[in-house]
């Protein structure tokens, strides 16, 4: 657990906003993520979390800086870097089993690795739903399928952009445990964007905190107490307080004087 899998060095990504002005979604961002590590990225809306994840995925490219996976420059997408979108990314015209198999089909290895589909359906606990279509399953189930679809390619890194953002808290807790289970099963490096502080602490080895305008990394906090982590435990709550303070959300801001 010391080899760096993902290395982001001095990455800048500038978009053009609706008025045509430059918008610095990321400025000079650097971060290294170790092989097999579970990293959560947290930060206010618009601070460039998705932008960073898309750059690592190769769905987008930076204006400055470079990104590497195992020493190789990232350019373009690759099944080595799996991506799980927030919601509604399953192909509606394919059944659950075929959505999961899509990764194998896309790489042209379906015939050789057909058996993996059943394995992943079992891993995500969706036996009996193989033939259901996406509109017939719940949001939580759909996200499990999306995760399995990315994992069946045995990626080096799995990038997850708020995969549980649209789920209720019970389903969410359930899926968090599932994710840990899959992480242990495959040893995949996980990079998870979330806006749920508890989720970040519950899952990650390190929490990366980002701040907006321009988007940059403001803190990296290691979470070193052992799993399974008790959400009400002393260490957990202390860590929560630390992160809230870093995010500047710990105390209510004073009201401006001119409010009515």
């Amino acid at each position: 657990m010391s080899k760096n899998a993902v290395e982001v060095t001095g990455v800048t990504r500038i978009y053009t906003d609706v008025r045509g002005n430059p918008l610095e979604a990321l400025r000079d961002v650097s971060v290294s993520i170790q092989q097999g590590e579970f990293v959560s990225i947290i930060g206010p809306s618009g601070c460039g979390k998705t932008t960073l994840l898309r750059l690592i995925a190769g769905l987008d490219s930076p204006q400055a800086g470079e990104l590497r996976l195992n020493g190789e420059i990232i350019s373009g997408t690759d099944p080595q870097r799996g991506y799980v979108f927030q919601q509604g990314s399953l192909f509606p015209w394919l059944t659950v089993a075929k959505n999961i198999a899509a990764g194998l089909k896309a790489r042209g290895v379906y015939k050789q690795q057909k058996a993996d589909v059943a394995e992943y359906i079992e891993l995500i606990g969706l036996e009996g739903f193989e033939k259901s279509y996406p509109h017939q399953i719940s949001g939580g189930m759909a996200q499990r399928v999306a995760i399995a679809r990315a994992l069946i390619n045995r990626p080096e890194v799995l990038l997850l952009d708020e995969p549980m953002g649209a789920l209720d808290s019970f389903t969410r807790a359930d899926l968090q445990d599932k994710l840990l289970e899959l992480w242990k099963h495959d040893g995949t490096t996980m990079i998870l964007v979330t806006h749920d502080i508890d989720e970040a602490i519950y899952l990650a080895d390190r929490v990366v905190i980002m701040s907006p305008r321009p988007g940059k990394i403001s803190d990296v906090i290691p979470i070193d107490f052992p799993r399974p982590r008790h959400r009400g435990g002393v260490e957990f709550l202390a860590m929560r307080k630390t992160i809230l303070e870093k995010l500047d959300l710990a105390s209510a801001k004073p009201e401006p004087e001119y409010t009515i």
Binding site: A57, G88, F91, A102, A106, R107, Y133, H135
Partner: protein, 327 residues
């Protein structure tokens, strides 16, 4: 909703009553014979008897299922009405000669055509069917092909889309004089016209459906290792299936019209040709017979296409349950 046994029996009797009355009427009252030819009632009577057997059978079949009972009972008043209409029509047309001849013949005269001229009718029916099959399927093929080109390659979109839009608004039959001269047979000319009329809506809808694919599906395809080929055949085209079927339905309606028009104007066979031929002899009862066959044929084709569509679009939200409701 539940239907009691007595109520269902009453509904069954109602269903059959209209046709039974029509049958009784046909037997009880003597047919007014024409001076020029003999009117035969046998075919009409046999069809009435056949309808009664079918509806009795479907009544017995429906007895055992709640949902089928409801459906059957719901349709009873309409079937009774049809039977009564036949009765009245038969009385006015065949029995008392109150309808304006030869434009409005009675049901006996029309149905006897099926017996008298079945071979000629069948050969024309097969001609129409063949023309439809070749013309329509080549149109679907061309349309989907063009649509894929336009939907996938921006160059094709630039060069072909305007052509498709310009030629697409022209009704296919306008090409008739040209088609009849260019093609070696009137059958091929007909195929060309039917194909043309299907080409535009299907091509247009295919392209539209592909271009409307959500970006996230392409991004998923890219992250799981799918290249251009995968993105085209496993993302863009499946995404276009619903609109392709919208195009196919539109094209189908146009194809029926074009088919009959080309047959009436240039062909040497087909139901349209038969209608023209019968009209030339002032045998309007034969025109009606051909129209009835056309109605049945086109309905069957629509049913088949509908079934294919439901199978292909089974993944769409809500579609299956809607179909169940509609029956």
């Amino acid at each position: 909703m539940k239907i009691s046994n007595t109520k269902f029996l009453i509904r069954t009797v109602l269903t059959l009553l209209g046709f039974a009355l029509a049958e009784v009427g046909s037997f009880a009252i003597p047919t007014l014979q024409n001076q020029t030819f003999v009117i035969r009632d046998e075919a009409y009577r046999a069809i009435l008897a056949g309808l009664m057997v079918i509806y009795l059978g479907s009544g017995i079949f429906s007895w055992f299922s709640e949902t089928r009972r409801v459906k059957y009972a719901k349709r009873a008043p309409f079937r009774l009405f049809i039977g009564l209409v036949l009765l009245v029509w038969d009385m006015l047309g065949t029995k008392f000669g109150k309808l304006h001849m030869p434009f409005f013949p009675g049901p006996s005269q029309i149905t006897w055509v099926f017996v008298e001229e079945w071979e000629f009718l069948l050969s024309n029916l097969l001609y129409s069917l063949r023309l439809y099959a070749f013309g329509f399927f080549s149109g679907v093929f061309l349309g989907v092909g063009t649509g894929i080109l336009i939907g996938w390659f921006s160059k094709a979109n630039y060069w072909i889309m305007p052509v498709l839009k310009m030629t697409g608004v022209i009704p296919a039959v306008a090409w008739m004089p040209f088609a009849l001269n260019i093609f070696p047979s009137s059958f091929l000319a007909g195929c060309f016209l039917v194909s043309m009329c299907a080409w535009f809506p299907i091509g247009f809808q295919t392209a539209r459906g592909m271009q409307a694919t959500q970006k996230v599906y392409f991004e998923v395809a890219r992250t799981i290792g799918g290249g251009r080929f995968y993105q085209l055949f496993h993302v863009a085209i499946p995404n276009a299936l619903p609109t392709i079927f919208t195009g196919v339905s539109t094209a189908n309606g146009l194809a029926f019209t074009t088919l009959v028009m080309t047959e009436m104007m240039g062909a040497r066979g087909g139901l349209g040709y038969y209608i023209n031929w019968a009209k030339a002899w002032s045998s309007y009862y034969k025109v009606y017979a051909a129209i009835i066959i056309m109605a049945i044929l086109f309905s069957i084709i629509l049913k088949i296409i509908g079934a294919i569509q439901n199978r292909a679009l089974i993944w769409q939200r809500g579609l299956t349950s809607n179909v169940e409701e509609r029956g």
